[in-house]
């Protein structure tokens, strides 16, 4: 659906996107993950043919973004950053207006507007003025706008920014729903969002793709080498003694925690899951255990790992 090759965008004095290549297949839901200024929005703007690239090629549904922009525009539903809407218009009028702009006839646009209003749960507010709607509803109007011409590909630039937890949940559910019929590319800087909605993730930093993987694979790749943390009610010496002779444990760090507990971090030798082993040891010694987890990496940690790796490679 999307084929990007060596895409580069330079602004005067700054390279926003630096020779990235990736493909997105039909029916995938792909997340663009990265900190602010990583080049997510720039890439999306190029993909949606809002602005041209400095070099490289982008093909969407087989059409070149630079040479056949109108073909591409017909096939993309794009929600720009911050979800800009004409706030003085009523929901239904706005969607109708957008449908007409996207080349739908009068009859067809009415039909499609009815459909997306239903799909995005806007029936109750269709006659309200957009400026008076809550942010969650506005976001849905933006999504409905992206959907209204039944595009093959939907590009959403930070669709959940600034929403409260309730609204977040409903917008995410909606995006997931869309993923069943459309190819979706969305950007975010929230890791859990990618986990919840996407099948694949592209991590972008400083204009380059650092990692492109399925979400599960990425997690196992970066799960801190399978580190396990436990809080055990025992003396540090006893804990060291108990785990000393186990071949599976490569290292352990002990820190005092609240109460008589010790916070112990175990590192396995060959990446296996140490949790059953730790539990077994605790049970044998009849200690009490109040936590046993394999900490998941936050986006921050993944970035730190990825960027450090990068630096090491350059040296």
């Amino acid at each position: 659906m999307i084929e990007v090759q060596n895409l580069t965008k330079r602004y005067p004095g700054r390279t926003a996107v630096d020779g990235i290549s990736f493909t997105v297949g039909r029916g995938e839901v792909v997340g663009f993950l990265g900190p602010n200024g990583a080049g997510k929005s720039t890439t999306m703007r190029i993909l949606s043919s809002f602005m041209p690239a400095t070099s490289g090629t982008v093909r969407i549904a087989g059409y070149d973004v630079f040479h056949q922009p109108d073909e591409v525009r017909c096939r993309i539903g794009y929600m720009p950053e911050n979800n800009p809407l004409h706030i003085d218009m009523r929901v239904r009028d706005y969607l109708k207006f957008r449908a007409r702009l996207k080349g739908l006839g009068i009859g067809r646009s009415r039909q499609r507007v009815d459909r997306v209003i239903e799909q995005c749960g806007l029936k109750d507010v269709e006659k309200r003025i957009i400026g008076q709607l809550s942010k969650g509803y506005r976001q849905r109007v933006g999504l409905a706008d992206a959907l209204v011409h039944d595009p093959d590909l939907i590009i959403l630039d930070e669709p959940t920014i600034g929403l409260d937890p309730h609204q977040l949940r409903s917008v995410r559910a909606l995006i997931k729903e869309l993923g069943r019929q459309h190819t979706v590319l969305l950007s975010t800087h929230i890791l859990t969002e990618v986990e919840m909605t996407c099948s694949r993730v592209l991590i972008l930093n400083q204009g380059r793709i650092l990692a492109a993987d399925r979400v599960e694979d990425l997690e196992s790749r970066f799960s801190q080498d399978g580190r396990v943390v436990a809080e055990i009610d025992a003396t540090p010496e006893a804990i060291r003694e108990a785990f000393r002779d186990l071949p599976e444990v490569a290292a352990l760090e002990i820190q005092a925690a609240a109460g008589a507990f010790q916070r112990v971090a175990f590192t396995p030798k060959s990446g296996q899951d140490l949790r059953p082993l730790v539990f077994e040891q605790v049970r044998q010694h009849d200690w009490s255990l109040r936590e046993l987890t394999r900490p998941r990496l936050s986006l921050e940690d993944i970035f730190i790992q990825l960027t450090q790796k990068k630096k090491g490679g350059d040296l």
């Binding site: 525009r73 950053e81 809407l85 003085d88 702009l101």
Partner: protein
């Protein structure tokens, strides 16, 4: 065509839904009111008063004040506001052509501008009823006045649309077109008042003088050269606007 009309409707909707739209109408009405006072005074004091259109559109400055003050306010919104809001991005990622967008924004502004003049036309008709002197308001002169309002308005509006396409700040857009407007008006005044018979440059400037054009129009003289001049200037600025948009889209 359908898309074009949809865009024009949106432009008009935006003008009427915004405060600036009503500010424009208010400015026009207020200044037209002053103009009316002027007309009434002159009709009272002069033994043989000039026809009303000439008093209002040719001799007085009220017409020019309205034109110069309202056109930047009408057009400043067209591109700058959409860029600032981000809706410009949403607009330009739909398969609409650049010309469609430019012409729709211009047409929307022109229709709104003409609508904002409509109360004044009403005022003139009332005057005609009150004075009972049909020769003061002859239909040909009215046709000329309407043509003048539309033609000279188009020129100023196209400059405004162009200024708006250059920036994302409505204030900068308005100031730019205001400056160009004032410049054109003062230069025109200067050259239509100077005694320029014989001097080639002077005659040329006289042909280009917008105040001279309006004096002709107000007398009911619809000069083809003036029409061509205003249509070409309008087209020229719309062409520049289209180029600016295309450049930003693809360069």
């Amino acid at each position: 065509m359908g898309v074009f009309l949809t865009l024009v409707r949106r432009e008009l909707g935006a003008a009427f839904n915004s405060l600036t739209g009503y500010v424009v109408v208010a400015i026009t009405l207020l200044l037209a009111g002053f103009g009316l006072m002027d007309i009434v005074q002159r009709l009272n004091s002069d033994r043989t008063p000039s026809p009303i259109p000439e008093i209002f559109f040719a001799d007085g400055i009220v017409f020019w004040l309205i034109l110069i003050l309202t056109t930047p306010v009408i057009t400043m919104r067209t591109f700058a506001a959409e860029k600032a809001l981000g809706t410009y991005e949403a607009l330009m990622t739909t398969p609409v052509g650049e010309w469609q967008v430019v012409l729709a924004k211009f047409t929307g502004s022109l229709v709104f501008y003409l609508l904002s003049w409509s109360p004044l036309i009403g005022v003139l008709i009332v005057l005609r009823q009150v004075t009972q002197q049909p020769q003061l308001l002859d239909p040909w002169a009215m046709c000329g006045v309407l043509t003048g309002i539309a033609c000279i308005g188009s020129t100023f509006l196209s400059i405004g649309v162009f200024a708006s396409s250059l920036t994302r700040s409505q204030i900068i857009a308005a100031m730019t077109s205001l400056l160009i407007g004032i410049g054109m008006w003062t230069l025109s005044l200067r050259f239509s008042q100077a005694d320029t018979t014989g001097d080639r440059l002077g005659r040329l400037m006289d042909h280009l003088s917008v105040t001279h054009h309006m004096q002709d129009f107000a007398r009911g003289v619809i000069d083809g050269r003036a029409l061509v001049f205003h249509l070409s200037v309008t087209f020229f600025f719309l062409f520049l606007t289209q180029r600016v948009i295309e450049m930003r889209r693809w360069k």
